[in-house]
Structures are given as C-alpha cells and as structure tokens.
C-alpha cells in the first residue's frame, strides 16, 4: 500500500527560524535522511504559499488567482510518498519528520490503488 505523508508545518516554520545555522542544517539533513529510508518512494519540499497559484474552471472558463487556496486553514509544506505493508510503518516514518516535533502536524492518508 502507498501512503501520502502531508507535512503541515504550522508553527514549526517559526521554530525553525529561531534555530542556529548548525541546528537548521541538522534538521535539513534529517529530511534528506528520511528520503533515503527504504519504502520512501517520493518526497519533496514545496515553495512557500506566496508562490502558489489557484486554478478553477467555471462555465468553461479557467480562473486563475494569485496566492494559496485561502479557505484552507493549514498550508502544505511538503510531502513524502511511502510504500508500506501496513499503516504503522507509515506512521513511524511520519513521526520522524522534524516538523512533527516542532509544532507541525503530518497527515497520513492511504493512496487509492489503481
């Protein structure tokens, strides 16, 4: 089964900003290390929400807007895609993501297999 681990940093971003350069490097190394775990088949960090563009199609017209989907309470910071036999394996990887212990939250959802 595959799971999408969605990273919502929330206050972790501010936490991260308060760290020393060395501590920040250590955190980034952790993110890279997770990408190397067997079973982690994808993962990326996203540029911040200011870089987003929203797309809607209404009445055959494509409507574009600058900025994120405003109604969303939390904004995605990044994700990992994990291949695992059962939920617990994906949850353990999620728990290792630095954002999780710095005030953020990880949402783990199974991917519908085609």
């Amino acid at each position: 089964m595959r799971y999408l681990l969605q990273i919502y940093p929330d206050s972790a971003t501010a936490e991260f900003g308060r760290l020393s350069a060395d501590e920040q490097d250590a955190i980034l190394d952790e993110f890279i290390a997770i990408r190397q775990i067997p079973g982690v088949i994808g993962g990326d960090r996203l540029h911040p929400v200011e870089t987003a563009t929203t797309v809607r199609v209404e009445g055959g017209q494509t409507l574009l807007a600058d900025g994120p989907f405003v109604e969303a309470k939390e904004h995605l910071g990044g994700y990992y895609l994990v291949e695992a036999d059962e939920l617990d394996a994906a949850l353990e990887i999620a728990a290792r993501i630095p954002a999780a212990r710095m005030g953020g939250v990880i949402e783990v959802r199974p991917v519908v297999e085609r």
């Binding site: 799971y3 695992a84 059962e86 939920l87 617990d88 959802r109």
Partner: protein
C-alpha cells in the same frame, strides 16, 4: 473464531458474514449428516471457504488480498488442525490509535465481547443507526488505511498496550455507574488479557483494579441510595472477587510492576483495609500524580492528605486545582469545607456539585448533605483529624468513594 478469520481476511464485515453463513450451513447439514468430530474446525474452514468464494466473485477485492494463493483446506486436515487464538491481535487492532476512542470501545465490544450493535448503542445512549455508522466507519478505516492485524512490535507495545487497557477500563467505568453488563464485559476482557499476556504487570494490575472495585458493587447502594465506602456493609463485599483481585495485584507486584494501574490497584486494595493506612495511600497518590500529572489524581491525593495532615492541608491542595465544572471537585471541596465548619461555603459548593450531578442516587446524596450543612446550629469544634471519626468521610476520585 471471528478473530482468526479477521486476521485471515483483513476485513471485518467479510469475516462476520462468512461466520454467519457457516453457522447457517451447520444448522442445515449437521442434523442431516451428523456433527463432525471437530466442529470448531469445520466451522472455521467452512467460513474461510465461503469467504474465498465470495472474494473470487469480487475480483477487485480479491486483487487486494492474497487469499487466492492460499489453497483450500482439505477435509482430512480438519481433524488435526488447531487454529491460533488470535484474540490478542484482534484487540490490538480494535484499539489502534488511528481509530477514535469511541470507535475503539464500540469495536472491542462488538468483536471481542460479541455484543450486538443495538446493545452497544443502548449502553452508550446513542441510536442504533449512529452506532452502526460508527462501527462501519471504523471497519472501513481498518481496511482502507491498512491497519495491520498483529500484536505490536516490542518498541510499540507499551503505548499500544496502554491504549488497550484504557479502552477496557473505560468500558468498566461505563458499567461502574450501574450498567452491570458492561462491567462484566470489561472483567471478562481483563481476564482474557491476563491469560494472553501473563508477563505484563499492568495487565494483571488492571484486572486487579476492576475486580476490587467490582467486589464492592453490592454494598455501594442501599435501597437505591448511595453508600460511601466508609459506611459500607463489608459483609456485602464479594470476598471471592476481592481475593482474586488481591491475587492479581500480587502477580503484578511479582512482575515488578510500578505503572499507573499497579498503583491504582494498590490504592484500591488499601482502601478495603480496616483501619485504612492513609499514609500509605497518600504516598501512592504522590507517585500516581508524578506518573500521570492528572488533576483528578491530585484531587484524590488531596483527600488522602486531609486524612494524614488535616482538613486545611487537603483544602489547600484542592483549591490549587483548575477543575471547575467537574462534579467531584465541587463535592470534595464542599466536604472539606464542611469538616472545617465553613458551612456557607460548603453549601455553595454542594449546590454547584448538585447542578452537575446526573444520577438520582448522587443527587439525593448531595441534597442530604445540603440539608445537613444547613442544619448545623453552630460550627463544629476544631478537632485534629485523627480524633475525628472517619464516618461519612469521602475519600476518592468522586468526593464520595462507593
């Protein structure tokens, strides 16, 4: 039998339907053909085969499960095969933290307790529809999110076991208020866990705790009226359950248990001694507070401290707590104030507790207290706690131990 099928199939509904079909088939065939020598095995194999047939018909599902590779069992095997008791796997699955607590409780009662949906709905005061939906949603989540069917690996076991024990204790406490059937279910689950995980001290301790509480069940009410622990007729305590409870506690101690259930059970056991060793009880509450950081536990400790160090000391601890709106906070505070002769304040707190009380016996008890407090002609003399009889003195988490 359901347990091994759920494990085999990874799908509750399928397992349940297969079991029902197997029983129906047995009801048809056995009177005609005679009861097979190993009926349990016959039923299990039949159920598995029915499930496999169904899956073969539904190819999409079949692709997801690995069942098609498993060869169908042969008649001859049925005699020898013993099926593993997978109740432990089942309870850990039912109590997986990825399921909401209410779902864990409902699922545990359904799958391990064998209660009907409608019975569970009644016990928790929701409609059958609501409970049905709750159970369906939980089962779907188990299947779709891939919640595994296994006893957790060692590094996960402590937290997962804690979750299981919390569910069982919650079921017991729902029964504690008078719905005896749930308490019995919880006791049964506790006993089964003790058999299945004999090396876990907290498991024995929870079993002990429930047995000790349950032993006092008959004495807790008298003609529908609440009777506090100190006033209970000890002859109405079930000595067999008390003995089994203390035995289970000994096993927990022997396994060097020092977790929250061990401490709670030890306290429960001490409360059943005459006279009570309040110093020991207070010391155990100290440990429990350290372990749990729970304000309700601190409330209980305050009551013990009032016994060892006097009402003022106990009250000081109670007033530090932020438990406004918690019935037993107010009733405890009221009692301490009453003992210190502060009648008006006691009255106010009893009234507050009364607003929050939701059972008839508790309400009447509080009303009696209010009447007493109002009836005092003058404040009682200040007396040291040890000289004063403990009669009517409330001493635990409810400001009135029953």
């Amino acid at each position: 039998m359901l347990a091994s099928l759920v494990g085999f199939l990874g799908d509750f509904d399928l397992a349940e339907e297969a079991v029902q079909e197997a029983f129906a088939l047995a009801a048809q065939r056995w009177p005609r053909d005679g009861t097979p020598p190993n009926p349990g095995a016959w039923l299990t194999i039949t159920a598995r085969n029915r499930a496999i047939d169904r899956l073969r018909r539904d190819r999409a599902l079949a692709a997801k499960t690995r069942l098609l590779e498993v060869p169908e069992a042969v008649e001859d095997e049925m005699e020898e095969r013993t099926f593993p008791d997978e109740r432990l796997e089942l309870i850990f699955t039912c109590c997986h933290p990825a399921l909401g607590l209410e779902a864990q409780v409902a699922l545990t009662l359904r799958a391990l307790g064998g209660l009907r949906t409608e019975e569970i709905a009644r016990a928790f005061l929701v409609s059958e529809e609501t409970m049905k939906r709750r159970l369906s949603r939980a089962k779907r989540k188990i299947r779709d999110a891939g919640i595994g069917f296994s006893v957790p690996a060692d590094h996960r076991l402590p937290e997962r076991l804690a979750a299981v024990l919390a569910v069982v204790y919650l079921i017991f406490n729902e029964g504690y208020g008078g719905r005896v059937d749930l308490a019995a279910e919880a006791l049964r689950l506790g006993g089964a866990l003790a058999e299945l995980m004999p090396d876990e001290p907290e498991v024995h301790a929870l079993h002990a705790l429930m047995l000790l509480h349950d032993a006092r069940r008959e004495a807790r009410f008298d003609g529908g009226e609440l009777v506090l622990l100190a006033d209970q007729d000890r002859s109405r305590w079930d000595s067999a359950r008390m003995a089994r409870g203390r035995e289970a506690l000994e096993r927990a101690f022997a396994l060097r248990g020092r977790g929250q259930y061990v401490i709670q059970a030890a306290i429960a056991s001490l409360h059943m001694d005459e006279p009570r060793d309040w110093t020991q009880i207070a010391a155990l509450y100290d440990e429990l507070v350290r372990l749990t950081g729970s304000p309700v536990v601190e409330l209980n400790r305050a009551i013990a401290v009032a016994e060892t160090d006097g009402g003022e000391a106990g009250l000081a601890l109670v007033e530090r707590l932020e438990l406004d709106g918690y019935q037993y906070f107010h009733s405890t505070r009221a009692d301490l104030l009453r003992r210190l002769g502060r009648r008006d304040e006691a009255n106010a707190e009893y009234e507050r507790a009364l607003e929050l009380a939701h059972t008839g016996p508790e309400r009447r008890f509080l009303q009696r207290r209010i009447a007493e407090v109002g009836a005092y002609p003058s404040p009682p003399q200040k007396v040291s706690p040890r000289e004063r009889p403990i009669r009517g003195w409330d001493d635990t988490n409810r400001g009135g131990k029953r």
